[in-house]
Symmetry: none
Subunit: 229 residues, 2 copies
DNA sequence: TGTTTTCGATCTTGA
DNA sequence: TCAAGATCGAAAACA
């Protein structure tokens, strides 16, 4: 599956002038696209959403109150959010915000909202963090999007059995029986109700449900309650 | 955990020589006790467990492999864990660990294990972070979703469900079924094995485990490595 | 009805 | 924190 697929990163177009994009593009296994994101600045692997803020931006957004709106949106995103704080202590000597205020905000973000906070010294390091974090998440959570748990068995026959178990009324036993008799997922899908009933343990009831599930109906799609950004 | 405004902090005795304890004791609304903790360095309000590490300790424990054992124990603690990293960049110029290795570890800790990481410049700031964090958590306690871990729901029925989920084999669904049928925690606790089995999803096995758990036996409690006082 | 299988819920573990 | 796998009990489905 995704063993050595490139990491796809979508960068928000408002980050276009940031150096981070340049550094990301220079990395060998990353492909960067630019587009408008509803929330966050970088969407990696369709899984992690990074919000990058310089220390100054951070301080300012505390003052003007923008911060917690953004954080709250991040926290409710369907992607796993990460905040990258960029800059060193020196960078915020100018604006008058107190260190305590920043720390208070950081406590809220990481403890209350549960959003991980990473620190970078400069745009180059931000890019590196995005890269590492994505790789680590990938290493754990297998390949691509999580359709059914995100996990897919690797051998073909396991995979076939796995697919079949998604059918209504079919568990490991009947999946095996089906596969033994029909030989392939494709043949099973296109089998008639009568043919299906030849299998041990499959009666009219289950056979009908399978055909029902497999026979695509337009109306079934169109709305799903998985909310978008 | 009532209206007592004082925060109670239990400090691990191995932190005894650390300045943090002194700073905590100097804070007006904090009372510090010293004792041996199974995990972590500071237990605040019976709710948050802080692991404090200087940057050097952190670097060293990456190298010698201790780090992830500790982190894993922290993550499985019944309290909400927080890692405090103490020190400035200068402090780790000496040991040869590479910045990338530290960042990789931080990514794992905060992203994978979900443990918030806070930064302090010195022991005084560590103490302040412990204080602030505890106050903030207190302010919202009961609001957020939570696994059992010191956040106690406020309404009676929530609290009852919460208690029931501590029983073996009982999760949210069965907790609700039990409460619907018996009406009170007390009745459930004193119900017979046969009565318990009347509930959907509870068979002989779980019923027996519940009675076993509820029927106190002196011998069962020799040592509890989760929490010592 | 009895037997087998699926399925939902919980727990455990590991990263 | 989070996801995968194992386990147990209930209930569906078949015969």
């Amino acid at each position: 599956m995704n063993k050595t697929t490139k990491i796809t990163i979508i960068a928000d177009d408002r980050e276009r002038q940031s150096q981070v994009i340049g550094f990301l593009s220079d990395m060998p296994d990353i492909s960067v696209q630019i587009s408008r994101l509803a929330t966050g600045d970088y969407l990696a692997d369709n899984r992690l959403i990074f919000e990058r803020k310089t220390l100054n931006d951070f301080a300012i957004s505390i003052i003007d109150g923008r911060l917690f709106k953004q954080i709250s949106r991040l926290a409710n995103s369907r992607y796993k959010p990460v905040l990258i704080l960029e800059g060193t202590g020196r960078d915020l000597s100018e604006n008058g915000i107190r260190r305590e205020a920043m720390q208070g905000a950081l406590i809220s973000i990481s403890l209350i909202y549960g959003i991980p906070v990473l620190r970078a010294m400069n745009p180059h390091e931000s890019a590196r963090l995005i890269n590492y974090a994505t790789l680590q998440i990938r290493a754990i959570a297998g390949g691509g999007l999580s359709n059914r748990g995100g996990y897919h068995p690797k051998t073909k026959s396991k995979r076939q059995l796995f697919i079949l178990q998604g059918l209504p009324g079919i568990g490991p036993k009947k999946a095996k029986n089906l596969l033994d008799r029909f030989g392939s997922v494709e043949k099973i899908i296109s089998a008639s109700i009568e043919e299906l009933q030849l299998i041990d343990g499959i009666g009219k009831n289950i056979a009908e449900k399978i055909k029902w599930a497999v026979h695509e109906e337009k109306a079934a799609y169109g709305f799903n309650d998985d909310f978008d950004i």
